[in-house]
Amino acid sequence: MSTIVAARPLPESRISPVFRFAMLLPGGLVTFFLILFALGLVLFLAFRGNDGSLLGAGLTVENFVTVATDPLYWTVTLRSLVIAGLVTLATVVTAYPVAYYLAFHAGRRRNLLLFLVTLPFWTSYLLRVFAWKIVLAYNGVLNSAFIESGLWSEPTLAFLNTPTAVVVTLAHAYAPFAILPIYVALDTIPKSLLEAASDLGARPFTAFRRVVLPNSMPGVLAAALVVFVPTVGDYVTPAMVGGPASTMIGSLIQSQFGKANDWPFGAALSVCVMLVILCVVLLARGADRRFGSRT
């Protein structure tokens, strides 16, 4: 993304203004109106008081004061961060060996395997979460399978409606997100680097630790980001398999725009989530710069 500045117009550049305008119009409308303007509205609304009208009234920081002082929001934010962090960690750690296999061992099965690991990405998220609901339910697949096999005699409630269920379900739902960025990073490591490492006498594990792992860090960080962002704001999985003890920040935002009907406060919560994500992105960028000397 840092190459934007390098796009100097060359002398032979002679794109007609009409063509340029027509080609920039659809994307420009969507990006400026639907993304930037809509996000601007959220920011604006966050500083308004709730008087029941669409855009609220007055100018106030009261929403943010409530978020900062009410321990409920600290608990829920912290819980969201812990759950999203655990999901990210689990997803990236389990995805790494798969990406490694794809990059170095898959051979001619590579395209098929790549297709198989990305296929669930294109299936309904709601159905993937629903699948876990029937797996973990009281009269569900897991309980009945254990009883059937004689491992225990009566169903246990311990699966559904726990934060653990949320972590497992989210980790499964977002697993396909993590493999591709790591695979791309591993696949683009110059083979000469690996050969140099082994020529210089590095044992496989040393070569992995000193050459492969640092060089794949940009992919790992990108993977962590694309898993962390959707999970930290998720409200469907906590509602389906989480129970009251795993309410996440996304659930609170959703209820402000639903039952609670306090849009300005919901907007303020959204702004806080975006700030948290911004911090995580900046952290990842910083880490990327430390590792990403390759390009």
Partner: protein, 273 residues
């Protein structure tokens, strides 16, 4: 990732087993939905009670369901068309427009990856209420264009970048206008990617729930219909039958999109200028 010195083959074999286990973990929960959709019991539990097609029969002649299906199809096609159009133009101008504006638009178009769905949903909810649309099918279309945009931009950008630069330059040197070059040279060369982007955008819209939850008015889409049915334990088998149909459809469309994308890339490499 074995640390042994016994060569990469043994390590690769263990890793292969791991990948197999990973795939089982990935697919097993999803495949339970079709399994229990044929099970003659209202509960999704072992032991299996025998084979039935009864739950599929309940799908037929259900006006709420067919209404939701119709909505999902219409919204999916319109949103996918919009997202594909934006993906084509944004990535084309990003690569050949040589302007900071085009580069900015391209960067912002990929921004929705970094915004949780719930925030995309509420920001558009505020927007559509502000312009007087309110929650409606149009609002859902706008939301789905946003959600599908990053994927279409990525697919189209990699396709345009794979076309040798000389082809476009030759067209321009021979006197073709920008429009002619785009319409008669670059677009036909990337047709498989256009179809692939369209199908992936359609799937994204067809299966999307998080954003649609905020933007739907009185006409629900298929995922919203499923969500509303989840409250009733009695309709669980019907949901599983419906889920099986949707999963099958998604698998087929995603496979076609993947084949098209590869065919397109392969053709580009085989016919260099």
């Amino acid at each position: 990732m074995s640390a042994t010195r016994s060569g990469t083959n043994a390590g690769g074999r263990w890793l292969g087993l791991y990948v197999l286990a990973y795939l089982v973990f990935l697919y097993l929960p999803i495949l339970l939905i079709p399994l229990f959709s044929f099970n003659d019991s209202i509960q999704a539990a072992f032991p299996l009670q025998g084979f039935t097609l009864e739950w599929y029969a309940t799908l037929y002649g259900n006006p709420a369901l067919s209404g939701a299906l119709g909505n999902s199809l219409v919204i999916g096609v319109v949103a996918a068309s919009g997202a594909t159009l934006c993906g084509i133009t944004v990535s084309y101008m990003d690569l050949y427009g040589r302007s900071p504006l085009a580069a900015t638009i391209s960067a912002v178009a990929r921004l929705p990856i970094l915004i949780p769905g719930v925030i995309v949903g509420i920001s558009l909810l505020i927007l559509v209420n502000l312009v007087g649309l309110g929650p409606s099918r149009v609002a859902i279309v706008l939301g789905h264009i946003l959600v599908a945009l990053p994927a279409t931009v990525v697919v189209m950008r990699s396709r345009f970048a794979a076309i040798p630069k000389t082809i476009r330059e030759a067209a321009l040197d021979l006197g073709a206008s920008d429009w002619m070059t785009f319409r008669r040279v670059m677009l036909p060369l990337s047709l498989p990617a256009v179809l692939s982007a369209f199908m992936l955008a359609f799937l994204t819209s067809f299966d999307e729930f998080i954003v649609v939850f905020f933007l739907a008015g009185t006409e629900p889409t298929l995922p919203l219909y499923i969500w509303s049915q989840l409250r009733f334990p009695r309709s669980l088998p019907t949901v599983m039958a419906l889920g099986t149909v949707i999963l099958t459809l998604s698998f087929v469309i995603a496979a076609l999109a993947e084949i098209l994308r590869h065919r397109g890339l392969g053709a580009a490499r085989r016919n260099p200028a």
